[in-house]
């Protein structure tokens, strides 16, 4: 018991004896140092591994590109990219990437998705049809959806040509950004100036793969008329200066710093090929202050862009928004000194679409191509060349297209279909279920000035419940997509540092073919008289009421009763007659 109170003697011996008394005293510090060193190595190793796996984290970048357009307007292009690493490394926790998108991708195994909301028509004649901006960001009016699923070769396409796009569509789009519109470049989005523009298109592009994770690109393309105070500015040479504008004129506010969670935040001012050629021709260089125009701030970087045949096609002035703060905001703008007129490079053919025919029974869709003689600029004028064009068109089921009635006219003369069409793929429509799809690969001669395709159709009938409330406006056929697979709109920027890490420029460097969308067609269908159901019910009920009323009346009547009624009236009448005759006799007697 005494041993218990004092502790077990054996334990005391084996207890913590002071250093130096045990024979293995040197092991402990050695062991301790070995342990410490191993821990240190482990720490360093994980740190190295973490830094090596630095791409394994979510990233967000924001960029803005401004460009003057030849018809006195300005283009503003907002680009936001969020990327999430592959799921295995990061699990389900997101701190920058919107969770709704990652859930969507995981549930439906989406490999690529593009959803755009557009109002207005991209003016290919004035604003260009050959550069990456018009190829990727010129979208048809309304809503358009392209989608691919993983491990499936099918393309899913949908279009709503008449969907109105307004602030309420921008609100959920902005909610996908880490700071919404409270900070960074998205704070420039002044709604009245966006929706006052000539064209605005918000787009969401999603790409996902096992190796790269998910990349979400959100872009907003706006073509604005800058509201400059000065009206027409005349130059001494009787030319007209382009309007001077800055971010304040476009968005009513200045950029007061970058979004804190974004990896980089840049503003680009781009002058495209037309301006570059003019400036080079007059002998001056493209510094930020030259004889044609001067920018309001000195840029942080200058980048030269080239098109796919290595001709200089654009020049970019880069501003880093992290150098600016609330006290010293960024308000970059352009002031013109000499009048300048230029054109943007168009696509090889201007494609447009219209309806032919009259009446409510049948009509024709016509697709016309007008040459812009681009091939002469690019590759001289060889005699025996041809330009390939691919047409993709979706037609709703109530416009019943007769694909056998396809006719092709080149420069006014009719050609057989097999001369011009290399491939044609048709998915016919099914009533009330499927729209009809048409895909064609055509080969036009380079020397063609104008070409037209026509297709006949019949107008279908809809059930009375399927008409929208404003049925007399008509129904829409979504835009057709015309692409030219031999022409690439990709840009290259040979002088930039690949570590610049600009997703906007990466997108411009991606290989993409020249595409353009045609107009949406409005087809008036026969509308029924919507008051007819009411009229029919009223008439039928009246007729039935009259019939049953008279039938019941007739059935209720009894034969004998009528005769008795008749007798009664006759008796009463006779009595009155008797009375009348007595009175008359009396009266006559009195008189005579």
């Amino acid at each position: 018991m005494a041993a218990h109170s004092r502790g077990h003697p054996a334990m005391r011996e084996r207890g913590f004896s002071p250093a130096g008394t045990s024979p293995y005293w040197w092991i402990r510090p050695c062991a301790g140092s070995i342990l410490f060193l191993s821990l240190l190595f482990l720490f360093l190793f994980t740190a190295a591994a973490a830094s090596a796996a630095a791409p394994e984290e979510e990233k967000f970048t924001e960029e803005l590109l401004l460009r003057p357009l030849p018809d006195r307007k300005a283009l503003a292009y907002f680009h936001f990219r969020s990327s999430a690493p592959p799921a295995a490394s990061v699990g389900r926790h997101h701190h920058l990437f919107p969770k709704a998108i990652s859930q969507l991708v995981k549930k439906y195994h989406i490999s690529e998705l593009e959803l755009s909301f557009t109002q207005g028509r991209w003016n290919y004649e004035q604003w260009g049809g050959f550069d990456p901006m018009s190829t990727n960001n010129a979208k048809p009016p309304g809503v358009e959806l392209w989608g691919f699923k993983l491990n499936e070769g099918n393309l899913r396409y949908g279009a709503l040509p008449r969907e109105a796009v307004c602030t309420e569509n921008l609100t959920p789009w902005l909610k996908l950004l880490p700071y919404r519109d409270k900070a960074g470049i998205a704070s420039l989005l002044y709604r009245p100036s966006i929706y006052k523009g000539y064209y605005h298109s918000q787009k969401l592009k999603l790409r996902s793969s096992q190796s790269l994770g998910i990349i979400l690109d959100q872009t907003l393309t706006v073509v604005l008329q800058p509201n400059t105070v000065s009206g027409e500015q005349l130059h001494s040479n009787h030319g007209q200066l382009q309007p001077n504008w800055s971010m304040r004129h476009l968005f009513n506010r200045k950029l007061s710093g970058k979004c804190l969670v974004s990896k980089s935040s840049r503003v680009f001012i781009e002058v495209d090929k037309g301006i570059v050629d003019n400036v080079n021709k007059s002998g001056s260089d493209l510094s930020w202050s030259n004889e044609f125009f001067v920018l309001s701030n000195s840029p942080d970087k200058l980048i030269k862009g080239q098109n796919h045949v290595e001709i200089q096609s654009s020049f970019l002035y880069v501003y880093d928004a992290s150098n600016y703060t609330e006290e010293k905001p960024l308000d970059v703008g352009i002031t013109w000194k000499l009048p300048l007129v230029w054109t943007c490079t168009p696509s090889p053919f201007h494609a447009s679409r219209f309806l032919m025919g009259s009446g409510n029974e049948r009509g024709s869709i016509a697709l016309s191509f007008m040459s812009t003689n681009l091939h002469k600029q690019i590759s001289g004028s060889p005699t025996d060349c041809s330009i390939k064009a691919v047409i993709f068109q979706v037609v709703p089921w109530y416009v019943k297209v007769y694909y056998h009635s396809l006719e092709i006219f080149i420069d006014g003369s009719r050609k057989t279909v097999s001369e011009v069409v290399d491939k044609i793929h048709v998915i016919p429509s099914e009533d009330k279920l499927l729209p009809g799809t048409l895909e064609m690969l055509l080969r036009f001669p380079c020397s063609m000035q104008s070409g037209t395709l026509t297709l006949d159709f019949d107008r279908g009938f809809l059930h009375i419940d399927e008409y929208p409330p404003d049925a007399n406006q008509g129904f829409d056929i979504p835009s057709a997509l015309v692409s030219f697979p031999e022409f690439s709109s990709a840009r290259s920027y040979p002088e930039i540092d690949p570590v610049l890490g600009s997703p906007l420029l990466e997108n411009f460097q991606e290989d993409s073919v020249v595409k353009s969308y045609t107009e949406v067609l409005l087809v008036p269908l026969t509308t029924p008289d919507f008051s007819m159901p009411y009229n029919v019910i009223t008439f039928t009920c009246t007729v039935l009421a009259l019939y049953f009323g008279s039938l019941l009346n007739a059935l209720r009547r009894r034969i004998g009763e009528e005769e008795r009624e008749l007798k009664k009236t006759v008796v009463i009448l006779k009595k009155w007659q008797l009375l009348a005759s007595i009175l008359y006799r009396k009266f006559v007697d009195e008189l005579f």
Binding site: R191, Y195, P469
Partner: protein
């Protein structure tokens, strides 16, 4: 003899008898008081504009004015269903894109920066409206398009457009009739989708639209009576059409003076309408509504104001409702609302409420037995009747 012998006993039993009947009566009163069982704990707003075309700009402005008011006073977008039948802000005829005004001074942009429209354009139909009210949606309908209310919700339903005797016109092609609306409200009541409902209608002959309602807990106000038209307030010569209706204009005039902390009552709102200014009689019916209107603050429907209960003890979550050993320190104000309660707790808070009025142990056991039948006053009365019978038989057997 029997009389003489009975009197000393009857003098002994009345105290026991009185106690038993008093307990029973108190219990019955508490049962009767618990007919509105759940606590008010959230607010919803369903704002519907049923008119299409540019010349009906004022109906859109009416609805957006209410939307702005309701958001300003605290109801978040998640609990507002906004149905706009046409697009006015980005209409090609609107010379002020992305802006909707309800006054010709253009001081207030009702559209703002964060508007969220749940049903737009062709989606605003009578079918979708009734689905929103009754909650009978197809499974693919997203949550933002549903009214996810429960038995503790107060719902504000505002409708504007063109209407007539017992109907409201939807988009110039179909009608909502008063008996359809009454049926939907009845379904809502059966499914416990609201605690109280305020219907506000701004159309011609608006009062006829809610003439068929019979569900309890519903309050309704219309801008005009049968045979009267409702008029627009003024024309904006810049926009080119009338921009607001009179009834909504004066409603907004009332609300612009308020903020979230005001306790103006519904009575002051309803009596603020002047028939000569409205050029119609704003008629309201409160026969289905049991609370007196001067005690109901407007933020009960138009805002989202929750009172908080301060407790000195640590927050023990749901255990607090059952743990009578540590009662809440604010014992006198149990009518105040609790923050952040979910569906299961109104029953427990009800138990607490009744525990205050009657001895703890007995009613708790009894109500535990009756879980799920919270408004079953018949059972309560039956029990009371049995108790009375027992008392009577005891008295008779003396």
């Amino acid at each position: 003899m029997a009389f003489g012998r009975r009197s000393p006993r009857s003098s002994r039993h009345p105290p026991a008898l009185a106690i038993v009947t008093a307990l029973l009566l108190a219990f019955l009163f508490s049962a009767a008081a618990s007919s509105t069982d759940a606590m008010h704990n959230n607010n919803w707003a369903v704002l519907v504009c049923t008119s299409r075309f540019w010349f009906n700009y004022r109906h859109m402005a009416n609805t957006l004015s209410l939307y702005r008011t309701v958001k300003r006073l605290g109801i978040p977008d998640e609990r507002i269903i906004l149905m706009l039948a046409d697009d006015m802000a980005c209409n090609p005829r609107n010379s002020y894109p992305a802006q909707v005004f309800n006054n010709e001074n253009h001081q207030l942009n009702l559209y703002g920066d964060n508007v969220e429209v749940d049903y737009r354009g062709y989606e605003v139909t009578v079918e979708n409206f009734l689905r929103v009210l009754t909650g009978r949606h197809e499974s693919a309908v997203p949550r933002s398009k549903r009214v996810l209310s429960d038995e503790g919700s107060h719902i504000l339903l505002y409708m504007t457009g063109h209407g007539g005797d017992e109907f409201l016109k939807f988009q110039d092609s179909e009608e909502l009739q008063s008996h359809d609306l009454a049926d939907a409200v009845k379904q809502m009541k059966e499914k416990h989708r609201f605690k109280e409902l305020l219907i506000m209608v701004d159309t011609c002959q608006a009062a006829t639209l809610f003439s068929q309602l019979q569900s309890p807990g519903v309050l309704a106000i219309g801008s005009s009576m049968k045979g009267e038209n409702s008029y627009s307030h003024h024309l904006d010569s810049d926009i080119g059409v009338s921009v607001v209706d009179r009834f909504t204009y004066y409603t907004l005039a009332f609300f612009e003076k308020l903020n979230m902390y005001s306790n103006a009552s519904l009575n002051s709102l309803f009596t603020s309408y002047n028939p000569s200014m409205l050029m119609s009689t704003a008629y309201y019916r409160m026969d289905l509504y049991e609370r007196p209107l001067n005690e109901v603050p407007v933020t009960n429907f138009f805002g989202s104001v929750m009172k908080t209960l301060h407790t000195d003890s640590a927050y023990t979550g749901f255990l607090a409702a059952h743990d009578y050993a540590t009662p809440l320190s604010v014992g006198d104000n149990l009518d105040d609302h609790f923050m952040l309660k979910d569906r299961s707790t109104p029953r427990r808070s009800n138990i607490e409420k009744e525990a205050q009025l009657t001895p703890h142990g007995w009613t708790e056991v009894l109500l535990e037995q009756l879980e799920g039948k919270n408004t079953d006053t018949v059972v309560m009365y039956g029990l009371g009747g049995m108790g009375i019978l027992l008392a009577l038989s005891t008295w008779l057997s003396m």
